[in-house]
Amino acid sequence: MAYNAIPTFLQEAEELIADIEQSALGLSSETDPAETVNRLFRAFHTIKGSSAMCGFDAVAGCTHHVETLLDRVRNGATSVSPELVDAVLKAADQIKLLLQAAQGGARPPSSEDLERAIAKFGTSSERTWSIRFHPDRSLLANGANPLTLLRDIRKLGSCEITAHTVGVHHLAIIWGSRNFGRHFERWRPRRKDRASR
């Protein structure tokens, strides 16, 4: 029976959104919010990658905007403010609505209001490239090493890499080195580059 990653993703997304809301609400009162901002970024980044993998493109697209905003905060280009907290909470609400719509087969609600709210924080001078790395299942068994490829990508510029562990199978299913490579088969390296290059 084929493994269906969607229920796992939905459960994890629910937990991540709850964590996002809690983290965002505490953000304004923190003297050093860097770790919380990182935590928020990672949560949105995970939702974005996993939702794209599960075919929830509207969720991935919406999440990309708030993830970019949080990356600007991490880089010091944008400050923590009540407006930022509001934008993060709006993004969490929008993702919940999009997931509900996706589960019910409904048309996804527009994310334009959220995008406009995020756009007010300014535009980035960086271009971001999102790369989905989905190698053949026999990758590891054939002796290939994804570490080498990912290290080469890192040499090209600032890079965030997320492994999509939602697709990792239970131990009972993995048996024999021939099967290796079938389960860690999705990465989403994200390369940033200066537009002026």
């Binding site: 562990t165 993995i174 080195s177």
Partner: protein
């Protein structure tokens, strides 16, 4: 459970047997990975798979310690050891 040495595609079958045996004991799993000198994607996959299986069975799972080498390789693959502890 304590793992030491180098775990890679060449000995992942042995690693899988070790982890499966530990899971079958039904006791809470606490992994000490501080003695792991090296690993590859296949070995890390098994650790993540062990966590998934433990959670499915309702068995407690956490990583107590991890070697710098293993943490760096995991980081290079976009994996976070913190994720194993549900952080």
């Amino acid at each position: 459970m304590t793992l030491t040495g180098d775990w890679n595609i060449g000995n992942v079958d042995d690693l899988r047997r070790l982890l499966a045996g530990c899971l079958d004991s039904g006791k809470e799993i606490v992994l000490d990975l501080s003695g792991v000198e090296g690993c590859d994607t296949a070995a890390l996959q098994l650790v993540w798979s062990m966590r998934r299986t433990a959670l499915q069975r309702g068995v407690g799972f956490r990583v107590a310690e991890v070697s710098r080498a293993m943490a760096e390789i995991a980081g290079s693959l976009g994996l976070s050891i913190e994720e194993l502890n549900g952080v």
